[in-house]
Protein backbone atom coordinates (compact mmCIF):
# COMPACT_ATOMS: atom_id res chain seq x y z
CA UNK A 1 0.00 0.00 0.00
CA UNK A 2 1.18 3.48 -0.72
CA UNK A 3 -0.43 6.90 -0.53
CA UNK A 4 -1.72 8.94 -3.45
CA UNK A 5 0.87 11.37 -4.76
CA UNK A 6 1.49 14.63 -2.95
CA UNK A 7 3.94 17.48 -2.75
CA UNK A 8 6.28 17.37 0.21
CA UNK A 9 7.76 20.39 1.95
CA UNK A 10 9.96 20.42 5.04
CA UNK A 11 10.05 23.87 6.64
CA UNK A 12 12.79 24.74 9.12
CA UNK A 13 10.76 27.08 11.31
CA UNK A 14 7.21 27.58 12.57
CA UNK A 15 6.95 30.85 10.63
CA UNK A 16 7.89 29.08 7.42
CA UNK A 17 5.40 26.30 8.19
CA UNK A 18 2.63 28.85 8.81
CA UNK A 19 3.37 30.58 5.51
CA UNK A 20 3.22 27.22 3.70
CA UNK A 21 -0.11 26.41 5.37
CA UNK A 22 -1.51 29.73 4.19
CA UNK A 23 -0.13 29.28 0.70
CA UNK A 24 -1.49 25.74 0.22
CA UNK A 25 -4.82 26.26 1.98
CA UNK A 26 -7.17 23.40 2.78
CA UNK A 27 -5.31 20.97 0.50
CA UNK A 28 -2.35 20.89 2.86
CA UNK A 29 -1.88 18.69 5.92
CA UNK A 30 0.69 18.95 8.68
CA UNK A 31 2.85 15.87 9.23
CA UNK A 32 4.25 15.21 12.73
CA UNK A 33 5.16 11.60 13.58
CA UNK A 34 2.81 10.41 10.86
CA UNK A 35 1.42 7.48 12.83
CA UNK A 36 -2.20 8.44 12.27
CA UNK A 37 -1.92 10.43 9.04
CA UNK A 38 0.27 8.05 7.02
CA UNK A 39 -1.91 4.97 7.72
CA UNK A 40 -4.96 7.04 6.69
CA UNK A 41 -3.15 8.12 3.51
CA UNK A 42 -2.13 4.55 2.71
CA UNK A 43 -5.79 3.53 2.98
CA UNK A 44 -6.66 6.57 0.83
CA UNK A 45 -8.90 7.86 3.59
CA UNK A 46 -6.84 11.04 3.33
CA UNK A 47 -5.26 12.40 0.15
CA UNK A 48 -3.75 15.79 0.88
CA UNK A 49 -2.19 17.65 -2.05
CA UNK A 50 0.67 18.88 0.09
CA UNK A 51 2.33 17.50 3.19
CA UNK A 52 4.07 20.01 5.42
CA UNK A 53 6.52 17.99 7.51
CA UNK A 54 7.18 19.56 10.92
CA UNK A 55 9.97 17.07 11.62
CA UNK A 56 12.75 19.55 10.85
CA UNK A 57 11.29 22.44 12.86
CA UNK A 58 13.44 22.80 15.94
CA UNK A 59 12.19 23.68 19.40
CA UNK A 60 8.98 21.70 19.20
CA UNK A 61 9.97 18.72 21.31
CA UNK A 62 10.95 18.16 24.91
CA UNK A 63 9.46 18.71 28.35
CA UNK A 64 10.27 21.68 30.56
CA UNK A 65 9.03 23.42 33.68
CA UNK A 66 7.83 26.99 33.25
CA UNK A 67 6.49 28.67 36.38
CA UNK A 68 3.57 26.62 37.66
CA UNK A 69 3.17 24.65 34.43
CA UNK A 70 4.74 21.72 32.70
CA UNK A 71 5.29 22.54 29.02
CA UNK A 72 5.34 19.59 26.62
CA UNK A 73 6.47 20.32 23.07
CA UNK A 74 3.94 19.12 20.50
CA UNK A 75 6.52 16.99 18.69
CA UNK A 76 7.59 15.08 21.80
CA UNK A 77 7.21 11.38 21.02
CA UNK A 78 5.12 9.21 23.34
CA UNK A 79 8.18 7.30 24.59
CA UNK A 80 9.87 10.57 25.64
CA UNK A 81 6.71 11.81 27.40
CA UNK A 82 6.61 8.55 29.37
CA UNK A 83 10.30 8.58 30.29
CA UNK A 84 10.56 12.29 31.12
CA UNK A 85 11.73 12.81 34.72
CA UNK A 86 9.43 15.83 35.06
CA UNK A 87 6.39 13.94 33.80
CA UNK A 88 7.22 10.98 36.05
CA UNK A 89 7.59 13.29 39.04
CA UNK A 90 4.41 15.33 38.61
CA UNK A 91 2.01 13.25 36.51
CA UNK A 92 2.22 9.45 36.88
CA UNK A 93 -1.20 9.36 35.18
CA UNK A 94 0.34 10.82 32.04
CA UNK A 95 3.04 8.13 32.21
CA UNK A 96 0.26 5.49 32.50
CA UNK A 97 -1.27 6.81 29.27
CA UNK A 98 2.01 7.27 27.37
CA UNK A 99 2.99 3.67 28.15
CA UNK A 100 -0.12 2.02 26.70
CA UNK A 101 -0.35 3.75 23.33
CA UNK A 102 0.22 1.38 20.40
CA UNK A 103 3.50 -0.47 20.88
CA UNK A 104 7.18 0.29 21.42
CA UNK A 105 7.85 1.28 17.81
CA UNK A 106 4.74 3.45 17.61
CA UNK A 107 5.69 5.19 20.87
CA UNK A 108 9.13 5.91 19.41
CA UNK A 109 7.60 7.82 16.53
CA UNK A 110 4.09 9.09 17.34
CA UNK A 111 3.88 12.53 18.93
CA UNK A 112 1.67 13.92 21.69
CA UNK A 113 0.75 16.97 19.59
CA UNK A 114 -0.13 14.80 16.63
CA UNK A 115 -2.37 12.65 18.80
CA UNK A 116 -4.11 15.67 20.32
CA UNK A 117 -4.60 17.49 17.00
CA UNK A 118 -5.85 14.32 15.29
CA UNK A 119 -8.50 14.00 18.06
CA UNK A 120 -9.21 10.32 17.51
CA UNK A 121 -12.10 9.36 19.83
CA UNK A 122 -10.15 6.17 20.68
CA UNK A 123 -6.89 7.95 21.57
CA UNK A 124 -5.36 7.96 25.05
CA UNK A 125 -3.77 11.39 25.54
CA UNK A 126 -6.97 13.45 25.09
CA UNK A 127 -8.57 11.60 28.03
CA UNK A 128 -5.77 12.01 30.56
CA UNK A 129 -5.09 15.59 29.42
CA UNK A 130 -8.76 16.39 30.10
CA UNK A 131 -8.39 15.04 33.64
CA UNK A 132 -5.21 17.10 34.07
CA UNK A 133 -6.96 20.31 32.94
CA UNK A 134 -4.35 20.85 30.22
CA UNK A 135 -4.41 23.63 27.66
CA UNK A 136 -3.02 23.89 24.17
CA UNK A 137 -0.93 26.63 22.59
CA UNK A 138 -1.80 27.17 18.97
CA UNK A 139 0.24 29.44 16.71
CA UNK A 140 -1.00 31.20 13.62
CA UNK A 141 0.28 34.03 11.44
CA UNK A 142 -1.72 36.47 13.55
CA UNK A 143 -0.09 35.36 16.81
CA UNK A 144 -0.91 32.61 19.26
CA UNK A 145 -3.75 31.61 21.54
CA UNK A 146 -4.25 29.13 24.33
CA UNK A 147 -7.23 26.79 24.26
CA UNK A 148 -8.59 25.04 27.36
CA UNK A 149 -8.99 21.28 27.10
CA UNK A 150 -12.69 21.42 27.94
CA UNK A 151 -13.29 23.52 24.81
CA UNK A 152 -10.78 21.78 22.58
CA UNK A 153 -12.22 18.44 21.42
CA UNK A 154 -15.35 19.51 19.56
CA UNK A 155 -16.31 16.40 17.57
CA UNK A 156 -14.96 13.16 16.06
CA UNK A 157 -11.46 13.95 14.74
CA UNK A 158 -12.20 17.65 15.19
CA UNK A 159 -10.71 20.27 17.46
CA UNK A 160 -11.35 23.95 18.09
CA UNK A 161 -8.22 24.82 16.08
CA UNK A 162 -8.83 26.44 12.71
CA UNK A 163 -6.97 25.74 9.49
CA UNK A 164 -3.82 27.83 9.48
CA UNK A 165 -3.06 27.11 13.13
CA UNK A 166 -0.27 24.86 14.39
CA UNK A 167 -0.37 23.22 17.82
CA UNK A 168 3.03 23.92 19.38
CA UNK A 169 2.78 23.22 23.11
CA UNK A 170 0.72 21.35 25.65
CA UNK A 171 0.53 23.10 29.02
CA UNK A 172 -0.26 21.09 32.13
CA UNK A 173 -0.76 23.05 35.38
CA UNK A 174 1.30 21.56 38.22
CA UNK A 175 -0.93 19.79 40.71
CA UNK A 176 -1.40 21.13 44.22
CA UNK A 177 0.12 19.21 47.09
CA UNK A 178 -1.45 15.84 47.94
CA UNK A 179 -2.65 15.25 44.40
CA UNK A 180 -2.59 12.00 42.47
CA UNK A 181 -3.22 11.14 38.83
CA UNK A 182 -3.94 7.86 37.05
CA UNK A 183 -5.14 6.44 33.74
CA UNK A 184 -6.73 3.05 33.16
CA UNK A 185 -7.74 1.61 29.83
CA UNK A 186 -9.60 -1.28 28.28
CA UNK A 187 -7.72 -1.72 25.01
CA UNK A 188 -9.16 -3.37 21.92
CA UNK A 189 -7.28 -6.69 21.78
CA UNK A 190 -6.35 -6.38 18.10
CA UNK A 191 -5.80 -2.68 17.51
CA UNK A 192 -4.73 -1.57 20.99
CA UNK A 193 -7.00 1.47 20.67
CA UNK A 194 -9.24 2.57 23.52
CA UNK A 195 -12.53 0.74 23.93
CA UNK A 196 -13.13 2.61 27.18
CA UNK A 197 -10.68 4.50 29.37
CA UNK A 198 -10.63 6.70 32.45
CA UNK A 199 -8.27 9.50 33.45
CA UNK A 200 -8.34 10.93 36.96
CA UNK A 201 -6.76 13.71 39.02
CA UNK A 202 -7.65 13.82 42.71
CA UNK A 203 -6.49 16.25 45.40
CA UNK A 204 -6.78 15.22 49.06
CA UNK A 205 -7.19 17.46 52.04
CA UNK A 206 -4.97 16.74 55.05
CA UNK A 207 -8.06 15.22 56.69
CA UNK A 208 -8.23 12.60 53.92
CA UNK A 209 -11.30 14.01 52.23
CA UNK A 210 -11.47 15.09 48.62
CA UNK A 211 -10.55 18.72 47.90
CA UNK A 212 -11.12 18.42 44.16
CA UNK A 213 -11.35 15.86 41.38
CA UNK A 214 -11.37 15.83 37.61
CA UNK A 215 -12.46 12.64 35.90
CA UNK A 216 -12.55 12.07 32.14
CA UNK A 217 -13.89 9.05 30.28
CA UNK A 218 -12.79 8.01 26.79
CA UNK A 219 -14.48 5.77 24.24
CA UNK A 220 -18.06 6.74 25.01
CA UNK A 221 -18.46 9.57 22.52
CA UNK A 222 -16.76 11.79 19.98
CA UNK A 223 -14.05 12.74 22.48
CA UNK A 224 -13.28 12.69 26.20
CA UNK A 225 -16.33 13.23 28.41
CA UNK A 226 -16.03 14.81 31.85
CA UNK A 227 -17.74 12.62 34.45
CA UNK A 228 -19.07 15.61 36.37
CA UNK A 229 -21.49 13.50 38.43
CA UNK A 230 -18.58 11.38 39.65
CA UNK A 231 -16.55 14.50 40.44
CA UNK A 232 -19.44 15.97 42.46
CA UNK A 233 -19.90 12.69 44.32
CA UNK A 234 -16.28 12.76 45.51
CA UNK A 235 -16.12 16.45 46.40
CA UNK A 236 -15.73 17.08 50.13
CA UNK A 237 -16.17 13.42 51.05
CA UNK A 238 -13.75 11.07 52.76
CA UNK A 239 -11.90 9.15 50.03
CA UNK A 240 -12.82 5.65 51.22
CA UNK A 241 -13.80 2.61 49.12
CA UNK A 242 -17.55 3.23 49.39
CA UNK A 243 -17.31 6.89 48.30
CA UNK A 244 -15.03 5.89 45.42
CA UNK A 245 -17.41 3.12 44.33
CA UNK A 246 -20.38 5.49 44.48
CA UNK A 247 -18.55 8.10 42.41
CA UNK A 248 -17.29 5.58 39.86
CA UNK A 249 -20.83 4.23 39.48
CA UNK A 250 -21.80 7.57 37.95
CA UNK A 251 -18.91 7.69 35.45
CA UNK A 252 -21.08 7.04 32.37
CA UNK A 253 -23.96 9.28 33.42
CA UNK A 254 -23.15 12.08 30.96
CA UNK A 255 -22.48 9.67 28.08
CA UNK A 256 -24.60 8.11 25.37
CA UNK A 257 -22.34 5.54 23.71
CA UNK A 258 -23.18 3.51 20.62
CA UNK A 259 -23.06 -0.25 20.16
CA UNK A 260 -20.28 -1.36 17.86
CA UNK A 261 -18.98 -4.64 16.50
CA UNK A 262 -16.74 -5.19 19.53
CA UNK A 263 -18.70 -3.83 22.48
CA UNK A 264 -22.32 -3.01 23.28
CA UNK A 265 -23.24 0.38 24.70
CA UNK A 266 -24.23 -1.32 27.95
CA UNK A 267 -20.83 -3.04 28.24
CA UNK A 268 -19.01 0.23 27.53
CA UNK A 269 -21.02 2.04 30.23
CA UNK A 270 -20.28 -0.74 32.69
CA UNK A 271 -16.56 -0.70 31.86
CA UNK A 272 -16.51 3.07 32.34
CA UNK A 273 -17.59 2.55 35.96
CA UNK A 274 -15.00 -0.21 36.47
CA UNK A 275 -12.12 1.75 34.94
CA UNK A 276 -13.14 4.94 36.75
CA UNK A 277 -13.05 3.07 40.07
CA UNK A 278 -9.60 1.63 39.35
CA UNK A 279 -8.24 4.97 38.21
CA UNK A 280 -9.70 6.86 41.19
CA UNK A 281 -8.26 4.24 43.58
CA UNK A 282 -4.84 4.52 41.95
CA UNK A 283 -4.93 8.33 41.97
CA UNK A 284 -5.99 8.42 45.65
CA UNK A 285 -3.19 6.03 46.55
CA UNK A 286 -0.66 8.19 44.70
CA UNK A 287 -2.05 11.32 46.37
CA UNK A 288 -1.41 9.73 49.76
CA UNK A 289 2.19 8.79 49.07
Amino acid sequence: MFPANFDYVAPRSIDEALQLLKQHGDDAKLLAGGHSLLPAMKLRLASPQTLIDLGNVSGLSGVRLEGDKLVIGALTVHADVGSSDLVRKYFPGLVDAASVIGDVQVRNRGTIGGSVAHADPAADFPVILTALDASFVSQSIGGNRTLAVDDFFTDYFTTAMAHGEILTEILVPLPSAHSGTAYHKLAHPASGYVVVSAGVMVTRQPSGSCASARIAIGGLGSGPIRAVASEAELHGKLLNPSTIAAAAGKAAEAADPDDDIYASAEYKRHMATVLARRAIEAAVQRAAS
Binding site: G34, D103, Q105
Partner: protein, 168 residues
Protein backbone atom coordinates in the same frame (compact mmCIF):
# COMPACT_ATOMS: atom_id res chain seq x y z
CA UNK B 1 3.54 18.33 -18.47
CA UNK B 2 1.96 15.12 -17.16
CA UNK B 3 0.39 14.84 -13.74
CA UNK B 4 3.23 12.59 -12.59
CA UNK B 5 5.81 15.18 -13.46
CA UNK B 6 4.41 17.52 -10.83
CA UNK B 7 5.59 15.13 -8.16
CA UNK B 8 9.27 15.19 -8.97
CA UNK B 9 11.62 12.98 -7.03
CA UNK B 10 13.31 14.67 -4.09
CA UNK B 11 16.97 14.27 -3.17
CA UNK B 12 17.71 12.68 0.19
CA UNK B 13 20.87 11.74 2.03
CA UNK B 14 20.74 8.90 4.51
CA UNK B 15 23.36 6.86 6.29
CA UNK B 16 22.37 3.21 6.23
CA UNK B 17 24.47 0.65 8.13
CA UNK B 18 27.36 3.12 8.18
CA UNK B 19 27.24 3.89 4.45
CA UNK B 20 26.11 7.27 3.21
CA UNK B 21 23.61 7.14 0.35
CA UNK B 22 22.45 9.99 -1.83
CA UNK B 23 19.25 9.10 -3.63
CA UNK B 24 16.14 10.49 -5.22
CA UNK B 25 12.74 9.38 -3.98
CA UNK B 26 9.12 10.15 -4.78
CA UNK B 27 7.55 11.91 -1.78
CA UNK B 28 5.14 9.01 -1.26
CA UNK B 29 7.84 6.33 -1.17
CA UNK B 30 7.70 4.54 2.17
CA UNK B 31 11.01 4.01 3.90
CA UNK B 32 10.74 0.22 3.80
CA UNK B 33 10.34 0.25 0.01
CA UNK B 34 13.27 2.64 -0.36
CA UNK B 35 15.45 0.26 1.67
CA UNK B 36 14.30 -2.86 -0.14
CA UNK B 37 13.88 -1.69 -3.70
CA UNK B 38 16.30 1.22 -4.09
CA UNK B 39 19.09 0.04 -1.80
CA UNK B 40 18.46 -3.70 -2.25
CA UNK B 41 18.39 -4.30 1.51
CA UNK B 42 15.68 -6.96 1.50
CA UNK B 43 16.36 -8.18 5.03
CA UNK B 44 13.74 -5.71 6.24
CA UNK B 45 10.39 -7.34 5.50
CA UNK B 46 6.96 -6.01 4.61
CA UNK B 47 4.39 -7.94 6.58
CA UNK B 48 1.03 -6.33 7.25
CA UNK B 49 1.96 -2.94 5.79
CA UNK B 50 -0.38 -1.36 8.37
CA UNK B 51 1.98 -0.69 11.34
CA UNK B 52 0.77 -3.74 13.25
CA UNK B 53 3.19 -6.63 12.71
CA UNK B 54 6.65 -5.11 13.14
CA UNK B 55 8.34 -7.16 10.37
CA UNK B 56 9.62 -3.85 8.93
CA UNK B 57 11.27 -2.69 12.18
CA UNK B 58 14.55 -0.82 11.72
CA UNK B 59 16.51 1.63 13.86
CA UNK B 60 16.10 5.27 12.86
CA UNK B 61 18.55 7.45 14.79
CA UNK B 62 19.04 4.47 17.12
CA UNK B 63 15.37 3.87 17.93
CA UNK B 64 13.21 0.96 16.78
CA UNK B 65 10.52 2.17 14.40
CA UNK B 66 8.21 0.67 11.78
CA UNK B 67 9.58 1.59 8.36
CA UNK B 68 6.22 0.96 6.62
CA UNK B 69 4.82 4.01 8.41
CA UNK B 70 7.58 6.50 7.65
CA UNK B 71 8.19 8.28 4.37
CA UNK B 72 11.67 7.94 2.93
CA UNK B 73 11.85 11.75 2.74
CA UNK B 74 11.31 11.90 6.52
CA UNK B 75 14.55 9.96 6.95
CA UNK B 76 16.55 12.63 5.13
CA UNK B 77 19.72 13.42 7.09
CA UNK B 78 19.15 10.57 9.53
CA UNK B 79 20.99 7.39 10.44
CA UNK B 80 19.45 3.98 9.82
CA UNK B 81 20.43 0.50 10.92
CA UNK B 82 18.77 -2.51 9.30
CA UNK B 83 19.19 -6.20 10.11
CA UNK B 84 22.05 -6.28 7.57
CA UNK B 85 23.99 -3.76 9.66
CA UNK B 86 23.63 -5.38 13.06
CA UNK B 87 26.63 -7.72 12.86
CA UNK B 88 30.08 -6.15 13.17
CA UNK B 89 33.31 -7.52 11.63
CA UNK B 90 31.73 -10.92 10.98
CA UNK B 91 30.63 -11.10 14.61
CA UNK B 92 26.90 -11.49 15.07
CA UNK B 93 24.99 -9.26 17.44
CA UNK B 94 24.19 -11.20 20.65
CA UNK B 95 20.48 -11.15 19.75
CA UNK B 96 21.24 -12.76 16.39
CA UNK B 97 23.32 -15.41 18.15
CA UNK B 98 20.56 -15.92 20.70
CA UNK B 99 18.00 -16.59 17.98
CA UNK B 100 20.31 -19.23 16.55
CA UNK B 101 21.18 -20.81 19.92
CA UNK B 102 17.62 -20.90 21.23
CA UNK B 103 15.85 -21.63 17.96
CA UNK B 104 14.01 -18.30 18.03
CA UNK B 105 12.55 -18.70 14.58
CA UNK B 106 10.48 -21.05 12.52
CA UNK B 107 9.62 -19.56 9.11
CA UNK B 108 11.84 -16.54 9.73
CA UNK B 109 9.55 -13.90 8.29
CA UNK B 110 9.12 -11.91 11.50
CA UNK B 111 12.71 -12.51 12.62
CA UNK B 112 14.47 -9.37 11.33
CA UNK B 113 11.85 -7.19 13.02
CA UNK B 114 11.96 -9.22 16.23
CA UNK B 115 15.75 -8.92 16.35
CA UNK B 116 15.77 -5.17 15.68
CA UNK B 117 13.18 -4.57 18.42
CA UNK B 118 15.07 -6.80 20.85
CA UNK B 119 18.40 -5.09 20.08
CA UNK B 120 16.79 -1.72 20.86
CA UNK B 121 15.39 -3.10 24.13
CA UNK B 122 18.78 -4.42 25.26
CA UNK B 123 20.47 -1.14 24.37
CA UNK B 124 18.25 0.71 26.85
CA UNK B 125 17.67 -2.12 29.34
CA UNK B 126 20.54 -4.59 29.47
CA UNK B 127 18.87 -6.90 31.97
CA UNK B 128 15.15 -7.04 31.20
CA UNK B 129 12.72 -9.28 33.06
CA UNK B 130 10.65 -11.79 31.10
CA UNK B 131 7.69 -9.43 31.52
CA UNK B 132 9.69 -6.51 30.09
CA UNK B 133 10.78 -8.61 27.11
CA UNK B 134 7.18 -9.58 26.37
CA UNK B 135 6.05 -5.97 26.74
CA UNK B 136 8.78 -4.83 24.34
CA UNK B 137 7.64 -7.36 21.73
CA UNK B 138 4.07 -6.02 21.80
CA UNK B 139 4.52 -4.54 18.32
CA UNK B 140 6.01 -7.65 16.69
CA UNK B 141 3.80 -10.50 15.57
CA UNK B 142 4.95 -14.07 14.93
CA UNK B 143 2.33 -16.17 13.14
CA UNK B 144 4.21 -19.43 13.64
CA UNK B 145 3.59 -18.63 17.35
CA UNK B 146 7.16 -19.20 18.38
CA UNK B 147 7.08 -16.56 21.09
CA UNK B 148 8.40 -18.85 23.83
CA UNK B 149 11.67 -19.41 22.01
CA UNK B 150 11.85 -15.77 20.92
CA UNK B 151 11.73 -14.68 24.57
CA UNK B 152 14.32 -17.36 25.43
CA UNK B 153 16.58 -16.08 22.64
CA UNK B 154 16.44 -12.53 23.97
CA UNK B 155 17.14 -13.71 27.52
CA UNK B 156 20.16 -15.60 26.19
CA UNK B 157 21.37 -12.42 24.46
CA UNK B 158 20.91 -10.34 27.61
CA UNK B 159 22.98 -12.86 29.59
CA UNK B 160 25.70 -12.84 26.94
CA UNK B 161 25.86 -9.04 26.93
CA UNK B 162 25.91 -9.06 30.76
CA UNK B 163 28.76 -11.59 30.84
CA UNK B 164 30.73 -9.51 28.34
CA UNK B 165 30.32 -6.37 30.44
CA UNK B 166 31.48 -8.19 33.60
CA UNK B 167 34.61 -9.55 31.91
CA UNK B 168 35.63 -6.07 30.75
Amino acid sequence: MTAEAEYAALPITVTVNGVKHEAEVEPRTLLVYFLREQLGLTGTHVGCDTSQCGACTIHLNERAVKSCTILAVQANGKTITTIEGLAHDDEFHPVQEGFREKHGLQCGYCTPGMIMTAADLLRTNANPSEEEIKHALEGNLCRCTGYVNIVESIKWAAEKIGAKNVSR
